[in-house]
């Protein structure tokens, strides 16, 4: 918008400048034309007079050569006669009128002088050295001299006196005054001054506009460029998003595999080094018509121009992947291998907008990560069930920005041991602080980012936040995790790295895994739970009773806790069926060597009803709300409804 306005102002000023230059030029030409016409008129007039006078001198007197002419004008009466005639015939614009001749020494001398002022004597030498004074002798034609350096004279007209033998014996010299010229110049001077001042101002404005436009482009470059990678940033994407013709592009999301590992192992400088070098390889692998955007930490968005066939687009993706895989990055004496996973949507124009297409490409990226990394997964709109991608793209972006801007936090809700009256542990619950500073609950965004790369990035962040907070104290904590997250190699690695080296912390961590999650590979799931147990961490089946897993699978998992779903707890004081189901679950858990936790304890009635069931732990707003700080024992049961 700013650019358009700047360009419009500049164009207007430029047009105005051109118009003024044209007008100024036209005025100058008009001025010259006026002068030329005046000059022509004067000369035409004087020319006739001089022609007649010349004829009169030569025809009526025996003048055959220069000596004859000199002798003729030597006579005072002849001089006076022709001076009189010449002075009478001349107009008021003539300042000087006289007759000259060139003597044997090539000196010019006066024969007569009809001027009213500054009169010269007969035969007085006259120092003139312009070529026209000699040309008149050879060309035998009148000459016009435009004077520049003589005060009050702007044109001199020379008219030859040709003897009967055809020789130039002398010439009339008429000096025109500059009076008319000065009058004209004086009258148009204000107009000229106005145009000059206006032109100066216009050029100053053009200069200022140019500086501003230059400044805009410099600033624009800074605004739209990521300084580390020298690629476009998200601002640029927002700028072009509305004008981008999606039919001309394919969308690819590129993400470096195990980048967090590189940062954690070699440090952030190494991470920055990798990012800058990787982006250089990206740029070398793409064409000028492709657009590369740093979309987030180690994530890039590539808009591949479809000027060739789609196969060529895939070639570009494969070229990028293999170029990165082949490169051996060396930082601070360490050889670092980097691989890249990529999700591609070949036909983003089929989606509602770019964000929708990005979301699908992101899901493809997630698939690429899940299936072993260093892969390209391409979206097939005919086969995929992702075609119903909703407007949740904005949530994806919302979470991404929160991650980039460190606005992810955790609140902690106590899990209460009613038998001892102590806080048994805390459940970490994710929150996002939005740009207005308001706290956004997970239900507002979590369902929309499920099965996206963003989800596992968020999980990684939560793990990092919670483990950091609890590693230095003696308290117990529960962290919610999806089955799909647990299958993610990066998350698994993060957990292993954090807990393997700190058994004390591991023994205080419980991973709450949603029972309602789609666990399509129970054997793999068991392996992952076994891994957590091997690290000394505990496992809790979350939301038990809301899903469809059979009891055998739950027993096989060997979870430490069963957290009974809130939908069974919240009405337990009034719904006898719920009461019976919960009672059965508690019995089953006790038989299976698992402790039970009731969530959604929101009232005194529910709390007291649960006391009758020998449940191990309880959590809910009646006991304490989740808080940003770790609630203490004396703060429990203080919630006012």
């Amino acid at each position: 918008m700013v650019r358009k306005r700047g360009l419009v102002v500049f164009s207007l000023l430029f047009m105005l400048g051109l118009f003024l230059a044209y007008t100024y030029n036209a005025i100058s030409k008009a001025k010259e034309t006026i002068f030329e016409r005046i000059e022509k008129h004067e000369i035409d007039h004087i020319s006739l007079v001089l022609q007649n006078l010349q004829k009169d001198i030569c025809a009526n007197n025996p003048i055959t050569d220069q000596e004859g002419l000199v002798s003729f004008f030597e006579q005072k009466q002849n001089r006076e006669k022709y001076e009189h005639i010449l002075s009478m015939a001349l107009s008021s614009d003539v300042k000087y009128s006289y007759i000259l001749y060139k003597d044997d020494e090539n000196k010019f001398r006066f024969l007569l002088d009809a001027s009213k002022t500054d009169k010269a004597n007969f035969n007085q030498k006259f120092d003139i050295n312009l070529k026209e004074y000699n040309l008149i002798y050879t060309l035998k034609e009148p000459q016009i001299i435009k004077q520049k350096n003589i005060e009050n004279i702007y044109v001199t007209y020379l008219y030859p006196i040709i003897s009967s033998s055809g020789v130039v014996v002398g010439f009339f010299n008429i000096d025109f005054t500059t009076d008319i010229k000065m009058i004209i110049l004086d009258s148009i001077k204000p107009l000229e001054a106005f145009f000059n001042i206006l032109t100066i101002f216009i050029f100053i404005f053009i200069g200022v506009a140019l500086v501003q436009i230059f400044h805009y482009f410099i600033t624009r470059k800074k605004i739209f460029t990521d300084t580390l990678t020298n690629t476009f940033n998200r601002n640029y994407l927002e700028e072009i998003e509305h004008v981008l013709n999606l039919e001309k592009y394919s969308v690819a999301i590129l993400d470096l595999d195990k980048f967090k590992f590189i940062n954690d192992t070699y440090g952030h400088k190494a991470g920055d080094y990798i990012l800058s070098h990787v982006s250089a390889i990206f740029k070398d692998s793409i064409r000028d018509s492709d657009i590369l955007v740093r979309y987030g930490g180690e994530e890039f968005l590539l808009l591949i121009n479809n000027r060739d066939d789609s196969k060529s687009n895939l070639n570009i993706c494969e070229r990028i992947r293999s170029n990165i895989a082949q490169e051996n990055f060396s930082f601070d004496g360490h050889d670092i291998k980097v691989t890249l996973s990529m999700g591609v949507h070949k036909h983003p124009s089929l989606e509602k907008n770019l964000q929708e297409a990005i979301k699908i490409a992101d899901k493809m990226l997630y698939e690429a990560k899940r299936s072993g990394r260093n892969k390209i997964v391409i979206y097939d709109e005919k086969l995929s069930s992702y075609s119903s991608a909703s407007s949740s793209a904005k949530y994806l972006s919302f979470v991404k920005e929160a991650l980039d801007e460190n606005r992810i936090i955790c609140h902690y809700q106590p899990i209460y041991n009613h038998k001892t009256g102590e806080i048994f542990k805390y459940e970490a619950l994710v929150r996002i602080i939005d740009k207005d500073g308001k706290t956004v609950m997970p239900m507002s965004f979590m369902p929309y980012i499920k099965l996206t790369n963003m989800h596992y990035k968020l999980t990684q962040r939560i793990l990092s936040l919670v483990l950091d907070k609890f590693k230095e104290n003696q308290l117990l904590v529960s962290i919610n995790i999806n089955f799909s997250d647990l299958m993610n190699p990066d998350i698994e690695q993060s957990i292993v790295r954090a807990l393997k080296s700190n058994h004390h912390l591991a023994s205080r961590v419980t991973f709450e895994i949603l029972e309602s999650d789609e666990i399509d590979n129970i054997e793999l799931f068991k392996q992952k739970i076994h891994l957590l147990h091997s690290l000394k961490a505990k496992v809790s089946i979350d939301d038990f009773g809301s899903g469809y897993s059979n009891f055998k699978s739950v027993i096989d998992v060997e979870a430490n806790f069963l957290k009974i779903d809130g939908s069974l707890i919240k009405n337990i004081d009034v719904n006898s069926k719920d009461f019976k189901v919960v009672k059965s679950i508690i019995h089953f858990a006790a038989q299976s060597n698992m402790q039970t936790i009731a969530e959604f304890v929101h009232s005194r009635e529910v709390y007291e009803k649960l006391l009758l069931l020998d449940i191990d732990y309880m959590q809910g707003y009646y006991i304490s709300k989740p808080e940003a700080h770790l609630v203490l024992k004396n703060e429990l049961f203080k919630t006012v409804f």
Binding site: Y96, R109, F122, D127, E151, D175
Partner: protein
Amino acid sequence: MKIFLLSLLLALTLFSNENKETIQVEILEKIFQNISLDDKIVIWSDNKNIIQEFEKRAHFSTTEECQKASIIVLEDKKNLKEGSCDKAIFVLNYELLKEIPRSFGSMFWKKGRPNIVIIEPRIKEQNISISKKLDIYKEEKIW
């Protein structure tokens, strides 16, 4: 000769926008550089502005006393103290050449153009020698 004339005209052109007296002194200076007297050239003039211009340019010595001068640049005949000056006289008006028999040359404006006249019999009479560059301005008599 032509080169000298051209340089003179060039000087005129260059200084055409300057004060008329400055141009006049410029021309006088070129003339005086090409003449030689028995004594060193020391200039006196009845036009104080011309003296100031000469002083400014510092090519020739000037004096405020006519008796100490070797050359007089005269604008008005009445400023010439009778009997006290038998110096070389250079006038700034063609007619003064007629009126002052000792004047040997003149620089004056005619029809807006600068003109120089040097009277040959008078320079011979006064033992003033001039370089060939000034030959073009030599006249046998005053017209």
